[in-house]
């Protein structure tokens, strides 16, 4: 009986914590939005807002595949290869988790600004990086970099290299072995990492805020648009965009939960 009580106690503490910290604010956002649904709909269908969502999707569509490939390559290098600087690579992959996105944005400014290392050369050749899509993509790639590698590394360690060696002795090339043996073995870790990366890309604010210039209808992503609407006292608009972002996040979470048991079975 005591044990049941203590279990119930723990459970209620955990649930109460989640309710106050996570679910409460989310519900309030939903509630405020649907109080005036037509205003919300109007705010969502302005050309600037539609452009902001498009831009967010474009950046995500570039950053996620790039980081998926990079993440798998890095994980393979960390687990399967021996090379000088491996420990450094392993540590550096986590850097974006530790570093504030604003700092990342400022660093990009120093690199690609007119006085930056690459900035002069780039502007001479008529390539606009800052205040344009390239810088926003680079910033997003930077902050969403660790997720695929961090998911794949432990899975690769766990499966070992027996199966890959067996494939080699059976005549499979490195490329064939990767596609037919390694990738199928780590597929759930990759998918899980892709989902986390996607969520991070959709929600990125700080680094993109610094490098984008926040030009409405040009370099404004969905998260930047929320902030802009809020500052313009368009509360309904800010909530409406937030709701769409929150629903995407919830979809991502649902997808993750649906996949997880399969991953554990594999």
């Amino acid at each position: 009986m005591k044990r049941v009580l203590s279990r119930l106690g723990l459970r209620s503490i955990a649930l109460a914590y989640l309710a106050v910290i996570l679910v409460g604010p989310l519900l309030i956002v939903f509630w405020r939005t649907f109080q005036d649904a037509s205003a919300a709909w109007d705010a969502l269908t302005t050309p600037e807002t539609i452009h902001a969502f498009k831009l967010t999707l474009i950046i995500t569509a570039i950053a996620v595949p790039v980081n998926t490939v990079f993440g798998i390559v890095c994980a393979l290098a960390i687990v399967r290869k021996r090379f000088w600087g491996k420990g450094l690579l392993n540590a550096f992959i986590d850097l974006p988790l530790a570093l504030s996105p604003v700092v990342v944005g400022l660093a990009l400014f120093l690199l690609y600004g007119d006085d930056g290392w690459f900035g002069g050369w780039l502007s001479e050749h008529g390539i606009q990086v800052l205040f344009a899509l390239p810088a926003m993509v680079i910033a997003t790639i930077f902050v969403s970099l660790p997720f695929v590698a961090r998911e794949v590394v432990p899975t690769l360690r766990e499966i070992g290299d027996d199966q890959e060696q067996a494939a080699f002795t059976l005549g499979a090339s490195g490329w064939q072995t990767f596609w037919r043996i390694t990738l199928p073995s780590i597929r759930w870790a990759v998918i899980y990492g892709v989902i986390l990366t996607t969520a991070r890309c959709l929600g990125e604010y700080g680094a993109v805020a610094v490098v984008s210039g926040r030009l409405q209808g040009e370099t404004e992503t969905a998260t930047l648009r929320v902030q802009e609407r809020w500052e313009a006292f368009d509360v309904a608009g800010a909530y409406a965009i937030s709701i769409v972002l929150a629903m995407i996040a919830i979809l991502v979470l649902v997808a993750m939960t649906a996949i997880r048991p399969k991953e554990e079975r594999a």
Binding site: Q165, F168, L170
Partner: protein
């Protein structure tokens, strides 16, 4: 196809896994690499397969230098101790893998897979996944998978090491029969001297990265080249200054010149054999094996003092 190992050495950091090993493996024979764990026998097998590279020395397969050849190009079949089953593939897909990557026609692959599944008695398990098989079945699948591309050499790394004793004995017998049918040059690694003695044509004994002796099971047993081989292949014990096997001890109830005096402390009847445990005058334990008939005729009893003389003994220069 013959395998020639020429002066191969391999280190892992400070650990010397192989020290100047040379070995000829007869074409078509079943050869055992026998040694205690950590002796370097698995490393040697993996170097032959191309899964490790030697620091020095050469590997010749069918007379051709294969030292720098990738494992894909060596045409060897490899069977792993822990099966290395492709977990996301069915048994059929596992066995077909080596043929698929060679882009053989589908019909040919299907026929060959059927043939191999019959050979390893897994014809009713083709659509199962490896997790749905027992250890013995997984290893038979591993063998079928390795044989599918018709390798010139079959290499098995402690193939039965992860299995329980009964399945081990069964599979060992079955490997011997399989080898008599397929006739592919086969090398298997084992630390179990019974396993090596029972099924191989030729045994190479390895200890501390060095090759101790190569020969038929009979040669190793009857004419061990080193003290290590004598003690590792079959039982042996010191008697005075010599090494002697338990069944090579003659027991006499009467004193004999030069014989070792000992007292019988325990007798165990093992079916048709009698195991007699003795203590010599210094208290050292000695074991003698004799047939029940000899034991009963002699009428030895516990507590009796007897005189031991070896029928065959060996003296090795101490290493």
């Amino acid at each position: 196809m013959s395998i020639l190992v020429r002066n191969v050495s391999k280190r892992f950091g400070d650990f010397v896994a192989l020290d100047d090993v040379s070995l000829d493996v007869e074409s078509g024979a079943l050869t055992a690499l026998l040694g205690p764990s950590g002796s370097g026998k698995s490393t040697l097998l993996r170097i032959v397969a191309g899964l490790e590279t030697a620091d020095a020395g050469e590997i010749l397969l069918a007379g051709k230098d294969a030292t720098a050849l990738a494992p894909q190009k060596r045409n060897v079949g490899f069977v792993f101790q822990h099966y290395a089953a492709f977990k996301h593939m069915t048994v059929r897909e596992n066995v077909a893998f080596g043929l698929k990557v060679r882009k053989r026609p589908k019909a040919e692959i299907a026929d060959r897979v059927d043939e191999l599944l019959n050979l390893v008695q897994l014809q009713n398990f083709g659509h199962r996944y490896p997790v749905q098989l027992s250890g013995g079945q997984r290893q038979r699948m591993g063998l079928a998978r390795a044989l599918a591309p018709e390798p010139q050499v079959l290499l098995l790394d402690e193939p039965f090491g992860a299995l329980d004793a009964r399945v081990r004995a069964e599979l060992r017998e079955w490997l011997r029969q399989l080898h008599d049918v397929v006739h592919v040059t086969t090398v298997f690694v084992t630390h179990d001297q019974d396993e090596a003695m029972e099924i191989s044509d030729q045994i190479a004994v390895i200890n501390h990265g060095k090759l101790e002796q190569v020969g038929s099971p009979r040669e190793l047993y009857d004419e061990p080249a080193t003290e290590f081989v004598m003690t590792f292949v079959g039982d042996a014990q010191p008697l005075g200054d010599v090494l002697v096997r338990p069944h090579d001890l003659e027991l006499s109830a009467e004193p004999i010149d030069g014989a070792v005096e000992a007292m019988i402390v325990r007798v165990t009847l093992l079916g048709r054999d009698a195991k007699v445990e003795l203590h010599d005058t210094s208290g050292a334990e000695i074991v003698a094996l004799m047939t029940r008939a000899d034991f009963d005729d002699a009428g030895f009893w516990r507590g009796q003092n007897v005189w031991l003389s070896p029928r065959h003994e060996r003296v090795f220069e101490s290493a």
